[in-house]
C-alpha cells in the first residue's frame, strides 16, 4: 500500500445543520426577514466575500477559506426531501432516494479499492455504531468506540495463552454453511476485527504531536483519525460525526456550541496532519442530512430541505460552488430552500477527481461534477 494514496474523511453533522446560519447571505434582506429570532447579528458575522459570511463561532473556518482550501457546496439535497432524519440520512448514505438501500456509497468505494479484502483496516469509523455509508457485503470496517489502544478481543487473556485462545476464537467464527446472513455477518466482523486489532492497537505508540486538541467528543474522534492516518496503516476512508444539529429550539447558543467544537476540532486536526507532513492526501467532507426551514419558529428552526456541504483539504480548490437557492417565498417548497445541487454531485467529484473511481455505479447515476478538485 502506498502511503500517499488519497484518503477521505467524512464528518457527519447529524441532525440537520442550519444552512442559512452557517453560510449567511448577509446582504439579502430576506435573511433578516426570515430570521427575526435566530438571525446572527451583523457584528457577529465574519465576511467571506461580498455575499456570504460565517458566524463568528465558526472562526477557524475562515483560515481555510482565506487559504483557498475550503469549498462551499450550495443548495445540496435531493428532490422530494422527506424531512425525516431517518430517511434523509439513509438517502445520503446509500444514494437511494426511491428505495431503502442496504449498501453505503463508501462501502462500495472500499470494495473497489480492495476487492480481496487484503487490508482489514482500510475503513475506520470513530464511534460505537456503524454508519450505513460504510456498509457493503464483504467490506470490513474497524469501529473504534474508545481509545485506540483498547481495541481488541479478550484483553484479560495475556501471555503465551493469548495466541492459542484467539486461534480458538477465530475457528469458532469461521464461516459455517447455511447458518444465515446475520451469522455470516457476525463471522466476518469477528474475523476481520481480529486481524485488525493488532494493527490499530499499536498506532498510538508511534504517535507524538505538539498539537493540543480541544476537549470535545469530535476533537477526540478527529485525533484518533489523525493518529491512524499518521500511523500509515493503509486506512483510506475515515468516518466520524458530531450531533445533534437538530436545533428546533434554543438555536442560539446551541448551533454555536456545535460549530465551535467542530471548527476547532477540524483546525487542530489539519494542524496535526501538517505537522506530520500528512495533510496532502486528505480531503474532508462535511455534510448534514438536510438544511432547516427558512423562517425561524421563534427560537429555532424546523426541518428543511436544501443544505450546505463543505469540502476541505490542501488540494481542494476553495470557493463557492453553486449558489444558495432563492429565499423568495414563491420559490420555497413548503417553506424550505429548494435544493439546486444533487448531493450525489458532491460525491461524484470526490470519486472522479480525488479517488480516481468511476462515480456512476457508486452513486447510481450521472451527475454534474462541481470542480472543487483538479
Amino acid at each position: 500500500m502506498a502511503t500517499n494514496d488519497p484518503c477521505v474523511v467524512v464528518l457527519q453533522l447529524t441532525g440537520g445543520n442550519d444552512y442559512i446560519n452557517t453560510m449567511i447571505p448577509y446582504n439579502n434582506p430576506l435573511y433578516r426577514d426570515n430570521r427575526p429570532a435566530v438571525g446572527i447579528p451583523d457584528n457577529n458575522i465574519i465576511h467571506l466575500d461580498s455575499n456570504y459570511g460565517i458566524p463568528d463561532y465558526m472562526a477557524p473556518m475562515k483560515k481555510f477559506w482565506d487559504d483557498k482550501k475550503l469549498a462551499v457546496l450550495h443548495g445540496v439535497g435531493f428532490k422530494d426531501s422527506p424531512r425525516s432524519h431517518f430517511r434523509a440520512m439513509d438517502i445520503w448514505h446509500t444514494c437511494e432516494p426511491e428505495k431503502v438501500g442496504t449498501e453505503g456509497w463508501l462501502g462500495r468505494v472500499a470494495r473497489e479499492f480492495d476487492p480481496n479484502k487484503e487490508n482489514v483496516v482500510q475503513v475506520v469509523s470513530m464511534g460505537p455504531s456503524l454508519p450505513r455509508s460504510l456498509v457493503a457485503p464483504g467490506v470490513p470496517v474497524a469501529c473504534v468506540a474508545g481509545p485506540l489502544e483498547r481495541y481488541g478481543f479478550l484483553p484479560q487473556v495475556q501471555g503465551n495463552e493469548r495466541a492459542h485462545v484467539l486461534d480458538r476464537f477465530a475457528k469458532m467464527y469461521s464461516p459455517a454453511i447455511g447458518s444465515g446472513p446475520v451469522m455470516d455477518y457476525l463471522s466476518e466482523t469477528a474475523i476481520d476485527s481480529l486481524k485488525g486489532e493488532d494493527i490499530i492497537k499499536v498506532v498510538p505508540q508511534k504517535y507524538s504531536s505538539t498539537v493540543q486538541y480541544p476537549n470535545s467528543p469530535i476533537a477526540r474522534k478527529l485525533k484518533g483519525i489523525a493518529q491512524v492516518h499518521i500511523g500509515e496503516i493503509g486506512t483510506r476512508i475515515f468516518y466520524c460525526d458530531h450531533s445533534t444539529f437538530d436545533t428546533h429550539a434554543g438555536q442560539n447558543p446551541g448551533h454555536g456550541n456545535l460549530w465551535k467544537a467542530v471548527s476547532e476540532g477540524v483546525e487542530a486536526f489539519f494542524a496535526d496532519l501538517r505537522e506530520h507532513n500528512k495533510a496532502d492526501n486528505i480531503v474532508m467532507l462535511m455534510f448534514s442530512e438536510f438544511g432547516r426551514r427558512v423562517h425561524d419558529n421563534g427560537s429555532g428552526t424546523d426541518h428543511g430541505a436544501g443544505g450546505v456541504a463543505f469540502v476541505l483539504g490542501e488540494k481542494v480548490k476553495g470557493g463557492h460552488y453553486g449558489e444558495m437557492p432563492s429565499m423568495k417565498a414563491e420559490h420555497l417548497v413548503q417553506g424550505d430552500l429548494d435544493p439546486n445541487m444533487d448531493f450525489r454531485s458532491v460525491y461524484s467529484t470526490i470519486l472522479d477527481k480525488w479517488l480516481d473511481l468511476n462515480p456512476v455505479p457508486i452513486v447510481n447515476g450521472t451527475f454534474e461534477k462541481p470542480a472543487f478538485l483538479n
Binding site: R83, F86, V100, V141, Q334
Partner: protein, 467 residues
C-alpha cells in the same frame, strides 16, 4: 425430554420478557407452568418493588443525578439488575426505544428517570393513555421543543415525531397533517424552570396555557374541527396504521428482528400473520398493551422464535449481571459498570437521536462486538461469582466429567444454548485439551477454572449473541 423442553421454552420467555434467568429460577417457573408465568409477568404489582433505600444508601448522587453521567445510568442499572418484575422493566426499555429521549439535549437525568418511571407505571396499560401521558411529560416536551410551539409560531418537532416515530410511521400522513397536528399541541408546555444556581434543579411540571393555544379549525387526516391535542390522539389511535406500527415495534423488540424502522413502509413484516394477530388484540382491547402482550407471549409464533433476535446491549449487560450475580448492591464501581451498554452502542437515557437505536444486526460492528464479548467473558470467567458457582455446583454433583459432558453441561446451564455442530466441535477440541475433569483428588481448582474458561468460550460464540 419434557424437562428440557419446558426449561428451554421458559428460558426463551425469560430472555425476552425479562433479562434471562438462572437454572434455579427457570426450574421454579417451569414447575408453575408457562401461562401462569406469563400472567405473573403481566402483573408486576404481585411482586415486590425494588428497594430504593439501598440505592440511596450506596449511591445517594443517583437519586437526583442532574445532567452528568453516569449517575442516571447507575440508577436505572440498579433497577434493571434487581427487579423482581422483569417485564415491567423490559417494557420501560421498550418504550424508551420508541419514545427515545436523551440526556444530550435534556441535560437532566432527574427528568429522564421520571420518564422511565412513567413507562414502568403505564407501560403495560392503555396505549392511548400512554400517548396522553407522554404528550404531557415535560421531559418529552423539552426534548421535542413543544414549549416553543406557540399559537403564533408553530414548532413542528413534537407534532412530526408523534406521527412519524411514536404512532403511525412515515408515509401515513402528509406534511399538512404534521402542521395541523403541531397546531393542535400549541400551548402544551411546562412551568418555567427555575435556574439551577443556587437552588439546584427543580422538577418540571406540565402546564397548559389556553392563551397560547391555536384554537382555530384544523384539518387532520381527513377530519375537521377545532382540535386540541387530545382530539388528535383520538384520531391517531383509530388509524389502522397506528396498530400496525406499534405491533411491529413489539414484534421487533420481543419476537424477532425486523428491518430498521425507515424500511417499514416499503418492506413487508417478516410474519404478516403474527402482526395481524397482534393488531387484532390491540384493536379489540381498545389499545390495552397488557392484552396484546398476553396474546404475543402465548402465541406459537413467539414460542417458535428462539434465537431470532440479536441481543441488545442492555440485554447483554443486564442479562449477564443478573446471571452471574453479585451485582445487586450498587457498590463503588457501579458507575463504570453502568456505562458498559454505551460501549456496546446503547447509551441508556441518551439515544443517538429521537429515532432511538437501530436494532438487530446493526448492534454488531467490530468495536461493539469486542465490547460485548469482552464484558461477558470477564463476568462469566469469575468462578467466585454466585451464578457461576451455581453452575459449578450442579456440574460437581455429576462426579467427574468427560470433555463432552463438560461442553454439554455448560451449554445447558448457560441457557440452554443451541450451537451449530462446527462451533460445538471447537468447544469439544478445547475440552479435549483439558481431558477428564474432576473435583476430587486435589483437582478442584483446575476443574473450577476449566468450567469458567468453557463458559467464556461459549459467551464468545456467534450463537450466544442471539436471544
Amino acid at each position: 425430554m419434557a424437562y428440557q423442553d419446558d426449561i428451554g421454552l421458559m428460558a426463551h420467555l425469560m430472555r425476552r420478557a425479562g433479562f434471562g434467568a438462572g437454572r434455579d429460577e427457570l426450574e421454579a417457573r417451569a414447575a408453575k407452568g408457562y401461562e401462569a408465568t406469563v400472567e405473573e409477568l403481566l402483573h408486576p404489582e404481585t411482586q415486590p418493588p425494588v428497594d430504593a433505600y439501598t440505592l440511596l444508601r450506596y449511591q445517594p448522587a443517583s437519586l437526583l443525578p442532574g445532567g452528568q453521567p453516569p449517575m442516571g445510568n447507575v440508577n436505572w442499572l440498579y433497577y434493571l439488575v434487581n427487579t423482581q418484575r422483569p417485564l415491567e422493566e423490559k417494557m420501560a426499555l421498550f418504550w424508551h426505544h420508541v419514545f427515545a429521549t436523551g440526556n444530550s439535549k435534556v441535560d437532566n437525568y432527574d427528568q429522564l428517570l421520571e420518564q422511565i418511571e412513567l413507562f414502568r407505571e403505564h407501560g403495560m396499560g392503555n396505549y392511548r393513555e400512554l400517548l396522553s401521558i407522554v404528550a404531557r411529560n415535560p421531559t418529552m416536551i423539552f426534548w421535542l421543543d413543544n414549549q416553543q410551539n406557540h399559537g403564533t409560531a408553530v414548532n413542528e418537532n413534537w407534532g412530526r415525531e408523534l406521527l412519524e416515530l411514536f404512532s403511525l410511521g412515515a408515509s401515513n400522513y402528509t406534511e399538512k397533517d404534521v402542521r395541523e397536528c403541531s397546531r393542535a399541541f400549541t400551548g402544551w408546555t411546562f412551568e418555567t424552570k427555575i435556574p439551577r444556581a443556587p437552588y439546584g434543579r427543580f422538577p418540571w411540571k406540565f402546564e397548559y396555557r389556553p392563551e397560547d393555544h391555536d384554537d382555530g379549525e384544523k384539518e387532520f387526516l381527513g377530519y375537521k374541527g377545532h382540535f386540541n391535542g387530545e382530539d388528535i390522539l383520538d384520531i391517531i389511535v383509530q388509524q389502522p396504521a397506528c396498530g400496525k406500527f406499534i405491533c411491529r415495534h413489539l414484534y421487533n423488540f420481543f419476537v424477532a428482528d425486523e428491518p430498521q424502522v425507515p424500511a417499514w413502509p416499503i418492506e413487508a413484516p417478516r410474519d404478516q400473520k403474527a402482526i395481524d394477530t397482534l393488531v387484532e388484540a390491540f384493536r379489540d382491547s381498545k389499545f390495552d398493551m397488557r392484552s396484546v402482550l398476553r396474546v404475543m407471549f402465548n402465541s406459537d409464533f413467539f414460542k417458535n422464535a428462539r434465537f431470532q433476535h440479536v441481543k441488545s446491549p442492555a440485554e447483554v449487560v443486564v442479562g449477564t449481571l443478573r446471571f452471574v450475580g453479585g451485582h445487586e448492591v450498587p457498590r463503588p464501581g457501579y458507575g463504570e459498570l453502568s456505562m458498559n451498554t454505551a460501549y456496546m452502542g446503547q447509551d441508556l437515557l441518551n439515544p443517538p437521536s429521537v429515532e432511538g437505536w437501530h436494532t438487530g444486526k446493526e448492534w454488531i460492528n467490530s468495536g461493539s462486538l469486542m465490547a460485548r464479548i469482552n464484558f461477558m467473558a470477564e463476568k462469566v470467567g469469575d468462578t467466585s461469582a454466585p451464578g457461576v458457582r451455581s453452575i459449578i455446583d450442579r456440574l460437581k454433583t455429576r462426579g467427574s466429567l468427560s470433555p463432552a459432558q463438560l461442553v454439554d453441561g455448560c451449554l445447558d446451564l448457560l441457557g440452554p444454548v443451541e450451537v451449530n455442530p462446527d462451533t460445538k466441535q471447537q468447544l469439544l477440541s478445547q475440552a479435549n485439551e483439558w481431558g477428564q475433569i474432576s473435583w476430587s483428588n486435589g483437582g478442584s481448582h483446575a476443574a473450577d477454572q476449566h468450567v469458567g474458561q468453557m463458559l467464556q468460550l461459549i459467551v464468545a460464540t456467534r450463537e450466544y449473541q442471539f436471544a
